[in-house]
């Protein structure tokens, strides 16, 4: 399959500060690729490298066969981009901003209008008077309004309400159906699970692994928060697929993987005063999964860490690296 994006040993340091280190990965044409990691993992750095806003310290990246630094303007002409923290000019209205974006991308000046109506964006209000969510809608409109073959989005649903998040996922699905490639950076695991075909997981500037999203750990893990009426020993939670990630007095945080019934059966026997079950966010995944190792973790479908190729055993080099820290 042809690669829409190729990263080869891509490294960026801002002086002494680490951005991304030795990233090697491919994004296939027509797929929705998640780029998942906690804040500060280096996701935005990778996107800025792709758009030629910053120069790699080492390595290189190509987008649709063109080097992102030496052919920056040509690369950007094939990308629709939504910044992680879109900064607009407060004195302009959304309409003026979107018309400007259309002209900069050589689109018809009213290309934005159908999408704005679909997302219920009031385009006549000066942007300084818009809420965070409405400002984010401008970004969503501008990223989907053009015909560019590659969409690059950095935390695209930040500030959007659940209805708009759902609409966003519909837009992603439509873009995928049109054969466009989507690179979606996020720290929201469920968003990546719902939108993406594959996802790369990055932490502290390094690629940990790349998997199909159905094999992502968060797909099977749940976060269980308990408030106990009376003390229970750690052994009370010694069940398959259960891990204590935090404990402070009577409050216990568990990560539970797989079948929940044995856990629920055990909880009935404990003095549980309060119980919350939630899907884990990326921080939880790293706490409960990557930091402590996961012997029952699924094998990586396509792992590249530090420029190395996947290990045939299925044991991920990334995880091995984490364990040996």
């Amino acid at each position: 399959m042809i690669s829409a994006i190729e990263f080869r040993g891509l490294t960026k340091f801002y002086g002494q500060r680490r951005g991304i280190v030795d990233l090697t990965a491919d994004v296939r044409e027509g797929e929705v690729f998640g780029f998942l990691g906690p804040n500060g993992a280096g996701k935005t750095t990778v996107i800025r490298l792709m758009l030629g806003f910053i120069r790699p310290t080492e390595g290189h990246a190509t987008v649709l066969g063109r080097d992102v630094w030496t052919s920056s303007a040509a690369v950007r002409s094939s990308i629709a981009y939504l910044s992680g923290e879109p900064a607009y000019l407060g004195e302009l209205t959304a309409e003026e901003t979107l018309r400007f974006m259309c002209r900069v991308r050589e689109l018809d000046a009213d290309t934005w209008r159908p999408l704005a109506e679909r997302l219920d964006l009031d385009a006549r209000v000066p942007i300084r008077k818009l809420s965070r969510g409405n400002r984010q809608k401008i970004g969503v409109v501008q990223v989907f309004m053009g015909p560019e073959p590659l969409l690059v989005m950095d935390e695209p649903t930040t500030g959007l309400d659940p209805l708009m998040q759902r609409e966003f996922l519909h837009l992603v699905a439509e873009a995928r159906a049109e054969g466009r490639t989507i690179f979606l950076s996020s720290h929201n695991l469920s968003e990546v699970e719902r939108a993406c075909d594959r996802a790369a997981i990055v932490r502290e500037g390094r690629l940990v692994e790349i998997r199909p999203v159905r094999e992502l750990p968060g797909d099977h893990w749940r976060r269980v928060s308990l408030v106990l009426g009376s003390a229970a020993p750690d052994e009370a939670f010694d069940l398959p697929g259960v891990r204590i990630v935090d404990r402070a007095g009577d409050e216990v945080e568990l990560m539970v993987r797989g079948d929940a019934r044995p856990v629920l059966a055990r909880l009935i026997r404990l003095d549980v005063r309060d119980l919350t079950i939630s899907t884990p966010d990326i921080e939880d995944v790293f706490l409960g999964y990557y930091d402590r190792g996961a012997p029952d973790a699924p094998p990586a479908e396509n792992l590249v860490v530090g420029g190395r190729t996947p290990e045939p055993s299925g044991q991920t080099a990334g995880r091995t690296e984490e364990r040996t820290r």
């Binding site: 801002y14 800025r48 758009l51 806003f53 910053i54 120069r55 920056s72 303007a73 950007r76 002409s77 990308i79 629709a80 981009y81 910044s83 923290e85 879109p86 900064a87 607009y88 000019l89 004195e91 901003t97 400007f100 974006m101 002209r103 900069v104 991308r105 050589e106």
Partner: protein
Amino acid sequence: MIAALLRLELRRTRLLVGWLLLLVVAYSAILAIVYPAIRANAANLDLSMKAYPKDFMAAFGMEASLSDPGVYYTADIGILLWPVVAAIAGIALATRPTAVDTERGWIETPMSGHLSRVAYALVSVVVQALTLAVLSVATVGAFVGVGALVGANLNAGPFALAAFAAWLFGCAIASVAMLIGVATLNRGVAAGITAGGLIVMYVFRIVGTVQPDLGWLANLSAFRYLYPTHIIDMGTLPWDEVLGFAVLTIAAWGIAVALFRQRDLVA
């Protein structure tokens, strides 16, 4: 695409230019209105000016009688109002699309299209040059125009040359500010260095004029060159100095654009 960016940048400049235009037109017009009275009372004024040391008066542009149109314009506008206005406009405009928009993140919007970095930076240069042209013409035009209305009989030709010199002086300020702004991506630093440099050169000119043994300091000052009194009185431009300022300005803009093309756009 370039036209859209140019239009937007000019639009963003409206408010600043509006206020500065109001200032320069009002100030120049008032000075023009007063000028006939200055000329009518030249003898008395010259007598009172003699009470002050000659070098001291010269340091502030009053080398001769204030009834001289070149001296009057230079002392009140050429080395007083205009450098301040040019510094405000030049620094603000030269640092906005590069340093400020990078700091705020707006730069990612225009730069996420097909636009090259060189084109983006050149649009900024054009906006600086256009804005300073409007301001310099308005400053001199208000003085000469209102002067004509009140019977000051100012010769428009030499003043047009003075407007050109003022524009070039302003462009030099803007180009240096842009260069520092691109290098640091920090408006505060760029403004501080540029404005600080101007103040130091202004002081150099005063000290160098008042203290003849420190006359060499005045030679280090940009204010010594493209001197409006000489241009207006002689009715011609000092071409060596024009060339020097033009080379400095084009070089600073050129280096700024080249640097902008290569540097990380992250504040």
